[in-house]
């Protein structure tokens, strides 16, 4: 069971993201702001910080690729960015103490980096329909707010799941 719990919860967050996007959106809060859920990415970051870096990167790549295939249909963008940012975050965590508040702040910063990089990638591929200031106000800030709230709510449960899986024994 403890072997299965990590892939199962990653897959749960993978689906919860799309359900969230379907049920709640900016229009429900009467604004044109875009709230992008990054639950799966937060899980992968916490896995990297509190579990093992190796597993974080592998999960980042596999679920990023699944994300690309199922949702965006442009292969490689999220697979590469999830794995790459997991690596960067693990390097950063070596410089500071890995307590949960620092982890929450660094995860939020990583989400900001992810959003900006995806924006740039989409700008290369096609017309994104907004310039950087619009992107920052309509999309980036609401997204960071949503995901920071999500981290605050679920940081401890996620941490507990990962500690249960017990990576030190591997």
């Amino acid at each position: 069971m403890s072997r299965l719990i990590i892939p199962l919860s990653a897959f749960f967050f993978f689906m919860a993201e799309s359900t969230y996007a379907d049920l709640f959106s900016g229009e429900h809060f009467n604004s044109s702001r875009i709230f992008v859920p990054h639950f799966l990415f937060i899980f992968i970051l916490f896995l990297t910080i509190f579990g093992s870096t190796k597993y974080g990167i592998i999960y980042g790549f596999i679920f990023g690729f699944l994300f690309d295939v199922v949702y965006t249909e442009i292969l490689g963008v999220y697979a590469f960015l999830f794995a790459f940012l997991a690596l960067v975050v693990s390097r950063l965590m070596k410089l500071v103490h890995s307590n949960i508040f620092i982890a929450a702040l660094i995860s939020t910063a990583a989400i900001a980096a992810l959003e900006i990089l995806v924006y740039e990638a989409n700008g290369l591929i096609k017309d994104t329909g907004m310039n950087f200031t619009e992107f920052a106000t309509i999309r980036l800030l609401p997204t960071l707010l949503l995901n920071f709230a999500f981290i605050i709510i679920l940081a401890f449960p996620i941490k507990r799941i990962i500690e249960k899986a017990n990576f030190e024994s591997d």
């Binding site: 429900h28 949702y71 999220y78 995806v118 329909g129």
Partner: protein, 293 residues
């Protein structure tokens, strides 16, 4: 941090960037169908999502019902006032329909651009990264869904089928920023005005209807419907209402801002529309116009 860019790491990074670019290049082009690993992954996740979606939708539906109950009294009052109007309209429509059928019989014209077969479907997922406005439905090739079919709700057009797998299909919504997402529409008033739905204004959340001749006058609030002239969509699917009209950046044509009549969020049950009249695809002469739906 010197060990960050060790030689081996650097090579791995470079190789993965090359693979990344190759993958993006492979997947970004317009594809007729997906490769089989992609289809397999999509069908498998689609199956799980279908199960996952049921309880979620049940709870969401319950909350919505409670919300509806609160407005019932006022709504009832308003609807009662419109009931008389409705009866009159209904008899008129019946007469017109009968006359239409008779006239068609006289002309011996069986097929119409308006006729279509509906395929009922349920939304099982939506792309959480909101750059590509796409949703996934639980009907695929084996249910008769094909690429480029129109997708509607009871209120109006919401998008078209982008790609199909065996058991699921991806719907590209009208609000998606894709230059290839063009739909031939018309405003049917005294004279008919044709144009294309091309693009979406993110800030004001309005569709852009382009390529309207500069000399026609469009009233605010006019109904925009699909014209069926693109060769794939049936005629007469409601798209939205005109909010405002501006001339385009060169002053040669006009751009109308159209408020979509269907809700593009919180979608649940949709209908995939299969046009009855044969498409122009078999006589693939109009290559350049193949994308205009």
């Amino acid at each position: 941090m010197p060990q960050f860019f060790l030689n081996k790491r650097l090579i791995v990074l470079l190789v993965s960037i090359i693979i990344l670019v190759a993958l993006i290049g492979f997947s970004v082009r317009e594809r007729e169908k997906l490769s089989w690993p992609e289809q397999f992954l999509k069908d498998t996740t689609g199956f799980v999502q279908n199960i996952f979606h049921q309880p979620v939708q049940f709870v969401a539906g319950f909350v919505e019902n409670v919300n509806d109950l609160q407005h019932t009294y006022q709504e009832n009052k308003r609807l009662k006032t419109r009931l008389d109007e409705y009866v009159k309209l209904k008899t008129e429509v019946q007469e017109l329909e009968k006359e239409n059928v008779e006239l068609r019989d006289i002309l011996d014209k069986k097929e119409s651009l308006r006729d279509f077969d509906p395929i009922q479907a349920t939304i099982i997922a939506r792309n959480p990264d909101m750059w590509h406005e796409k949703t996934i439905i639980n009907r695929g090739k084996i249910h008769g869904v094909q690429k480029d079919m129109a997708v509607i709700t009871s209120k109006g057009l919401i998008g078209k089928i982008k790609i199909t797998t065996q058991f699921t299909s991806t719907v590209q919504l009208l609000s998606s920023m894709d230059p290839k997402n063009r739909i031939s529409v018309g405003i049917y008033g005294k004279g008919t005005i044709y144009g294309f739905i091309e693009g979406f204004d993110q800030k004001e959340r309005l569709l852009l209807m382009k390529k309207i001749p500069y000399d026609v006058k469009i009233k605010k609030g006019s109904e925009v419907v699909t014209s069926g002239l693109g060769g794939v969509f049936p005629r007469g699917l409601p798209v939205g209402k005109v909010e405002k009209v501006e001339s385009d950046q060169y002053g040669l044509t006009q751009v109308a801002y159209v408020k979509p009549s269907a809700e593009l969020y919180d979608l649940n049950h949709v209908i995939v529309v299969k046009r009855k009249i044969s498409t122009t695809e078999s006589s693939s002469g109009a290559g350049a116009e193949g994308d205009d739906l």
